[in-house]
């Protein structure tokens, strides 16, 4: 499996990517490829450039004048910054942030927002999407009787799952998960992880996580980021069985630092 995959199998092609905030370097000279329909894990301690990488894919750098991106990120062969309609790009790329953001709308409207933006108007269609996405995010049973109450009033863990449902409602072909389980209890985390394994059939998933074991459970391949450097990209099992090229990777995976 290791080696250069055929171009048709590459979902995201990262070439010499570097990210700076002002003079501070968040990620330097990173190149790797993410394949279609794989779960690609990114592990590493805080401040290693994981979140910056996700923000660059989704063009979230537009919010931050200070953020500079060099190199290339090719999504299905097209550089993301050459996409004229950034909104269309974002509709294809779902994001789940580490801190849950329940928009101050009803639970139903939170999930229906994205389909509505994309032009779905029929109540019946929206009902189907809302139920399917909430079910997949393991939230449907808890909220099905109060879909009209405010999404921002849910508990932290529930809001996190609402965010996941919202990201799924876009029907993205690339899903970016940034520490999705940080506010979710272990049982629910397991349920969501099962869903992610199924979603792999439909989309490519990039999973940024602090939980090394979560990467091991889910990711097909995993990258190890350390202070702005992509130290290692390898089959996840190799990472955990010590078949790595860099000593720092196995040190981190085995919990000797970080």
């Amino acid at each position: 499996m290791v080696g250069t995959p055929a171009a048709a199998d590459v979902k995201l092609d990262v070439k010499n990517l570097a990210i700076h905030y002002g003079d501070t370097c968040a990620l330097r000279d990173t190149s790797f490829q993410i394949r279609k329909n794989e779960i690609f894990g990114i592990i590493g301690p805080a401040n290693s450039g994981k979140t910056s990488f996700l923000r660059a894919i989704n063009r979230m750098d537009m919010f931050d004048d200070n953020m500079r991106i060099d190199g290339e990120i090719l999504l299905d062969g097209t550089e993301v910054r050459n996409w004229r309609n950034v909104y269309a790009l974002r509709r294809r790329v779902g994001v789940v942030f580490p801190l849950p953001v329940g928009l101050p709308l009803s639970i139903y409207d939170n999930v229906a927002l994205s389909p509505r933006l994309a032009g779905t108007r029929k109540k019946a269609d929206l009902d189907v999407i809302v139920e399917r996405c909430l079910t997949r995010a393991a939230l449907w049973d808890e909220v099905k009787d109060r879909l009209n109450s405010l999404g921002s009033l849910l508990s932290g863990g529930q809001q996190q799952r609402l965010t996941i449902a919202r990201a799924l409602s876009q029907q993205p072909d690339l899903l970016l998960l940034d520490e999705f389980s940080i506010a979710v209890d272990p049982v629910t985390t397991m349920r969501i992880e099962d869903v992610l394994k199924e979603l792999r059939e439909e989309m490519t998933i990039i999973l940024v996580t602090n939980l090394v074991q979560q990467a091991r459970r889910l990711a097909d391949r995993t990258a190890f980021f350390l202070t702005g450097e992509c130290v290692e990209v390898a089959e996840t099992e190799d990472l955990f069985t010590g078949a790595v090229s860099d000593q720092r990777t196995s040190d981190y995976v085995e919990g000797r630092f970080g």
Binding site: N58, M60, F63, D65, Y87, A88, L89, R90, R91, R92, V95, F97, L99, V101, L103, P104, L105, L113, S114, L117, A118, L150, S152, T163, R166, A167, Q170
Partner: protein
């Protein structure tokens, strides 16, 4: 041990300073309430004499005849004055609400860096222009302009005062509305943009609903400002008692009536007391408007 116990039992300087500051700010806080009550008692003492004695409910609220100086048959119908104030304020809101909400949305959501700061400073400067200057603009600039543009005999009317008052209320409404928009967490905007919403979609679907209460409060405070404004309205309305049938009719405002007539009445006379009754009416209206605005602002915090 004994030494420690003594220290615990002794009030030191910090303790006294703390108590003194507590009392000082308490007096500052309570004085606002004392002043409000004082104003109410003062206006009430003079006005209730009229309300309990001469006052005729039907005349006061439904007659447009305000002829307090008539020797034979003085009447105190405030309808024309109420309609005058209401029409000018209403027209002012038509002018200022779209402008100030637009300005607030631009400053809070679109403008960045220097442009944003410059705009904010300019708008705050606009709020500091004395009302007599606005009245002067209405009298000497708008008046001839309205006469020549609309070909009407008089340029001091609802239109003139409405525009002037609208421009006066707009900076305050803009500032408060902008605060309300800025109070919406950036996380909401990022989350919505990450879903592929355009800027306008983010504003329309997420930011405006979230800031709704603050925006209503901004408009209400603008209305309160319009109701209470005196000098500019006096100078730009034409100051003639009249129930307007079009925006080109001159009117007279409640506030302007009090301002111009109070100096010419004998203290304690019926006319004098009637003016205080107008004051009570104004006080009650602005009180209700501000209270409503306050309740809306509180609505934000509850959520």
């Amino acid at each position: 041990m004994a030494h420690n116990a003594g220290a615990l039992d002794r009030r030191d300087t910090a303790w006294y300073v703390d108590k003194a500051v507590e009392w000082l700010v308490f007096i500052g806080g309570i004085s606002a309430i004392i002043f409000i009550v004082g104003i109410f008692v003062f206006i009430g003492k003079e006005g209730f004499g009229f309300i309990l004695g001469r006052f005729d409910f039907a005349e006061f609220f439904f007659s447009p005849r305000w002829t307090p100086t008539s020797l034979t048959n003085a009447t105190y119908g405030a309808l024309a004055l109420i309609v005058g104030t209401a029409s000018v304020t209403g027209f002012a809101m038509l002018v200022s609400v779209p402008f100030s909400l637009g300005a607030a949305i631009y400053i809070a959501e679109f403008a960045t860096g220097k442009r944003r700061e410059t705009l904010k400073v300019l708008i705050e400067m606009l709020a500091a222009i004395p009302s007599v200057v606005w009245g002067f603009i209405g009298l000497s600039l708008m008046n001839p302009l309205i006469i020549s543009v609309f070909n009407v005999p008089l340029g001091l009317n609802v239109l003139n005062a409405g525009i002037i008052l609208g421009l006066m209320a707009a900076p305050i409404m803009t500032t408060i509305a902008e605060d309300a928009l800025k109070a919406v967490p950036d996380g909401y905007r990022e989350a919505a943009e990450a879903l592929g919403a355009t800027r306008w979609q983010v504003i329309r679907q997420v930011v405006l609903p979230a800031a709704k209460n603050g925006l209503v409060a901004a408009v209400l405070l603008g209305v309160g400002r319009g109701f209470g404004e005196t000098m500019a309205v006096l100078m730009a309305t034409g100051h003639s008692i009249n129930i307007p049938s079009s925006i080109f009719d001159p009117v007279r405002a409640l506030t302007a009536t009090i301002a111009t007539e109070l100096g010419e009445t004998a203290e304690g006379s019926e006319h004098y007391q009637a003016l205080f009754a107008l004051g009570i009416l104004l006080f009650a209206v602005t009180f209700v408007i501000n209270l409503t605005a306050d309740l809306f602002v509180r609505g934000i915090k509850d959520k």
